[in-house]
Symmetry: C2
Subunit: 220 residues, 2 copies
DNA sequence: AGCCGCTTGTGAACGCAGGAACAAAGTCGC
DNA sequence: GCGACTTTGTTCCTGCGTTCACAAGCGGCT
């Protein structure tokens, strides 16, 4: 039994698949039944050829001369991304950003739901956000085990992010999304994905300044 | 007069430079005066050779046999990134996420400050967040012009993100950071950088599931 | 003063992502 | 029923990013 597909999808493609999924959901809600690669690519902001290549990674199911069936394609992408079944996540650090994340509707509609909110500050513990009650840090390990949460989100200050990371890993979490402005180290087998909002802004500012100053003084 | 440096820095390098800047600031606060590439790379979570190549893009200033001077390197990176002088930004959409962004201390310490907060909901207008008062959308254009804000941050619902984007561009904003789960289109000369929190989670979840299921059923 | 060890900076090779062009296939019109 | 058009899926190619490996340079020790 051979495996016709290489079974390995580039990370850049995965990120775009998530975008396609979002666009397709919007199209389905709008009543569309079929879409061409050109139209979908335009809506997702990518090159049509690249979109077709991305879709070919999941053994594509388009109809030549017609396009893609919106519902079928959406379901297939959701299955590949594992978004058909909602995944339990825990969120540590219920400050401003953590509160926003706990209340963010985008997660629930895209295959994720929080099963535990944790904060070290007694002032935060007991508050209810998005239907969940903030728990003290002491209950982190038992809650992770009880809910079988496989994904952890860190939104704590930078100076405690590594400790929180270690505790999550110890509790069995294998995937961590880190919003703290710190570089986390984790053992092999654990994915840590950093999302630094300041870095995004700095890259944006640099591109803008580079465009504004084609060949002028940077050395001055 | 030739220009010894290509004057063009890859985007991936710029993103890492921002991380190095953060690490260097931490080292400087800790009293360190010099750092080797290996140590800095370890703290930033990258390959030492790659770090040296990144630094070589800005005409590097390390001392062989010793390493890099922490303060000097920090200042040089800050200058290249344009982070020595704080840039004025406007923020549109003061929901949960917008509130968190307006209050996020990380921006202020990294060369950005908000000069205007805007929301379409009268219930939000008038509130004070991080020292600024939320203004109605009508005042967006005049405020952008008055403050000469060059960067706009969109944290609105997806269905109005494009309108907000158009108004920002019309008002003269050339760089936009988009947190709304929507693909924005802008004319040439305007940079739009999407930050989709759900996409980050979905990529993370996919990597985790791919690791958990080496070669099992995905087609089922 | 000379040697040794350490660290930087750069050059080359590898792998990957992105884009364009072409062949296959299916549908619509006549 | 047949031809032509539309759209997908694939293949090739170009460019970029990353990594490895080595030469050059500087400080410290004897």
């Amino acid at each position: 039994m051979i495996q016709p597909r290489p079974r390995t999808i580039p990370e850049a493609t995965v990120a775009r698949l998530a975008v396609y999924l979002r666009v397709l959901t919007g199209l389905a809600d709008g009543g569309r039944t079929t879409v061409s690669s050109g139209e979908l690519a335009s809506a997702a902001g990518v090159n049509p050829a690249g979109l077709r290549k991305d879709l070919s990674h999941l053994g594509s199911c388009g109809v030549r001369g017609v396009g893609y069936d919106v519902r079928a394609l959406r379901e297939r992408i959701a299955r590949v991304l594992g978004a058909e079944r909602s995944r339990p996540c825990v969120l540590v650090g219920i400050g401003n950003l953590g509160t926003a994340l706990a209340d963010y509707a985008g997660f629930g509609s895209r295959g994720f739901h929080f099963v535990g909110l944790f904060d070290a500050s007694p002032a935060r513990v007991g508050h209810t956000i998005g239907g969940l009650t903030v728990q003290p840090m002491e209950e982190l390990e038992t809650a992770v085990t009880a809910t079988d949460a496989s994904i952890g989100v860190i939104a704590t200050p930078a100076d405690v992010a590594q400790q929180v990371c270690d505790r999550l890993v110890e509790a069995g979490v294998r995937s961590i999304l880190n919003f703290a402005p710190a570089t986390l180290t984790a053992p092999a087998g654990v994915d840590v994905r950093p999302v630094d909002l300041s870095v995004e802004l700095q890259v944006l500012a640099f591109l803008g300044q580079q465009r504004a100053v084609p060949a002028a003084e940077v050395t001055a």
